[in-house]
Subunit: 394 residues, 2 copies
């Protein structure tokens, strides 16, 4: 059975919609936040904790699983969902983003994030790229052992078919945010050729293949890309790297205006609280992000209004001295296992003592927080209160 998307309700004032994606591994109620399990594990969280937190689907990375342990072994052990004992719907990306990180991402000067991931800056120093792109595909060095590997549309799809996720993504070439119009156009044209090859290579009828839109921050290219993907694919993923917020929202507007309404739309790699409201308002159905687990491991946790706000990006740092004696939970409005059972003071102690349980509790809280927020947003769309909910947060 091929995964199928259905819209249940549209918001009256915005482009937000509530729907459902039916997959062979179960239903995904949208809008949905998709936690990322890069190497087949959402970092520091067990599958049952993830399910309890309200996750409906997990995204894993094709690049990482291809290098270790390899798609053949995962297929032999029952496929991605069974192998990681998630037993629910899964999604894989194409490997394109990791290839970008090894290539133009380095050449243009790598990206450096602050500890709380609230800001990044492009490192000025360019580094030698670790990949080589041709019409055929990409040759790159493994980050694990330096061995040489190839990815192409056909190889990416073959890997993703063996992994067996319900939602999969076409192999794409990522443009550098520093590219001018001409270079971005060249990259988009290569992506388009690769997407057609991805589509031809794809045989597994139980998987929904997302075409990916590109075109950097250029309106003309983004519209061309949206129309191209809409013409050729049943589901739309919005790609690109390191757009600023203004560009991101514009890009979604341009894209959504140029694709069929009945196709599901996935925003790759976004997960800030304000972004979640803004992208759903603009018509995004699903989105994935590593932020909640990554900032959890460095001590940051999400907080809801009035403590949390745009200015503090709805997060604070458990390492702060003010939490040493704080008997309150991480977030007073949260119903996750961490907030129901532990004080900030205890988790502050665990974090300072480098106890592994601290990474588990902070990550679990953060993932639950985004899942729960997205669930509330869905409910608000269903009962016509989306704008009110958004106002109460932003």
């Amino acid at each position: 059975m091929k995964p199928k998307f259905r819209i249940l309700k549209k918001d009256k004032k915005t482009k937000a919609r509530a729907g459902v994606i039916k997959t062979p591994h179960g239903d995904i109620e949208t809008p949905a936040f998709i936690p990322v399990g890069t190497q087949g594990s959402v970092k520091a969280i067990s599958p049952r904790e993830l399910m309890e937190a309200g996750a409906q689907i997990v995204l894993a990375n094709t690049y990482h699983l291809h290098l270790r342990p390899g798609e053949d072994l995962i297929k032999k052990l029952g496929g991605l969902s069974k192998w990681m004992s998630w037993n629910g719907p899964t999604m894989t990306d194409s490997g394109g983003f990791q290839v970008f990180s090894l290539g133009v991402g380095k050449e243009g000067g790598g990206v450096k994030f602050l500890r709380d991931e609230s800001k990044y800056e492009i490192e000025q120093e360019a580094k030698p790229r670790l990949n080589k792109i041709t019409e055929e595909g990409v040759t790159f060095q493994s980050h694990i052992d330096g061995s040489t590997h190839k990815l192409s549309p056909e190889v990416s799809i073959e890997i993703q078919e063996k992994l067996g996720a319900d939602l999969i993504v076409c192999f794409d070439d990522l443009e550098s945010p520093k590219y001018n119009f001409e270079k971005t156009k060249e990259s988009l044209e290569l992506t388009n050729r690769w997407e057609i090859r991805s589509k031809k290579a794809h045989k597994n009828k139980n998987q929904l293949l997302f075409g990916v839109t590109h075109g950097g921050k250029f309106r003309e290219l983004r519209i061309e890309s949206a129309k191209f993907v809409d013409k050729n694919f049943d589901a739309i993923a919005l790609g690109g790297a390191h757009l600023n917020k203004e560009n991101l929202y514009e890009v979604i507007d341009w894209t959504v205006a140029n694709v069929s309404e009945d196709k599901s739309r996935h925003q790759l790699g976004i997960g800030e609280i304000d972004d979640i409201f803004e992208i759903i308002e603009r018509g995004i159905d699903t989105f994935d992000c590593v932020i909640p687990t990554r900032i959890g491991r460095t001590g940051f946790f999400f907080i809801s209004p009035p403590l949390g706000n745009i200015k503090n990006r709805f997060r604070t740092d458990i390492d702060k001295p003010q939490y040493r004696q704080d008997s309150k939970p991480l977030d007073s409005n949260c119903k996750c296992y961490a907030c129901q059972n532990f004080s900030r003071a205890y988790i502050h102690h665990l974090f300072r003592s480098r106890e592994l349980l601290s990474y588990n509790l902070l990550s679990l809280h953060n993932v639950h927080f985004l899942l729960n927020l997205t669930k509330k947003i869905r409910e608000s769309i269903l009962d016509n209160s989306f704008s009110t909910l958004k106002k109460s947060w932003l």
Copy 2:
């Protein structure tokens, strides 16, 4: 209510017995394995996972909690059991062992363990001790920031009263395994004076105070110590550091023969599979050990017979290449969460990828393994099959 021990059944052929310790935080069915949560967390395991694994009581370390976050804060937040959201019975040690590690443990040449903790060796190179022992107590340097602290019988008991565990231990001086008879006797006499001071300092009637026996490997001293502790205390803890197996078993025999039968007996710091059978057979009721979590974090996991045996110490290493494609659980006879849901192949992948979930699953399995083994031993004592069970394992 003061914790109270009651014997329910005695084995006919050995000194093994099944009983129960009633505490203000709940009952402990004995024999019982007590997992160790050094800094207020059994490493890499959440309290609810621990409870599900069958833990009845957790031991935390006075030395560590005194230095961070401090007993006053823990008391303010409801005491050890509530603070760590364990909400069941707890035990604290006296701090004596950590003081030993900083002192004679270093002076005599530190102890170095193999990665799987199956063997240790005394490092030949002596290091400067980080503590100073006088009649009054011990002055030592914190392992966290080098600051100077004092422990004495009165201070140790005051800390333990504030932490509020159900079972607590007298402050003791640990003898070096290299000491001769005279030096061991001197150390024991200091311990005895400190134990009497500990008893005098102890006011909290909801706590059961264990006297600690010492005397190294010397029969005469061990008997003297057993009689001394039995005369002065309602519960007996067997102390000492780095005895070999033969000495350990002898020491228990000498001690048990010289203490009242109706007092509960705790063996400090023991948890190898064969030791568990041997010490319970000799009359031990409770024992604590960091082995299951410590070896779990380095990749080792317990296996039951016939795969597990004395020769491999009932353990193997998930990092071995043979587990790369192994679809079986860690241990086929185990009912823990890890064994019910994940393959060795998946956990091997997680461990090689340094995913935090691997430390959780391996630690959880190992703790469950010892808890379940001890539970089976208890059942065998109750239905007169202890010797048969022991034979099937050793």
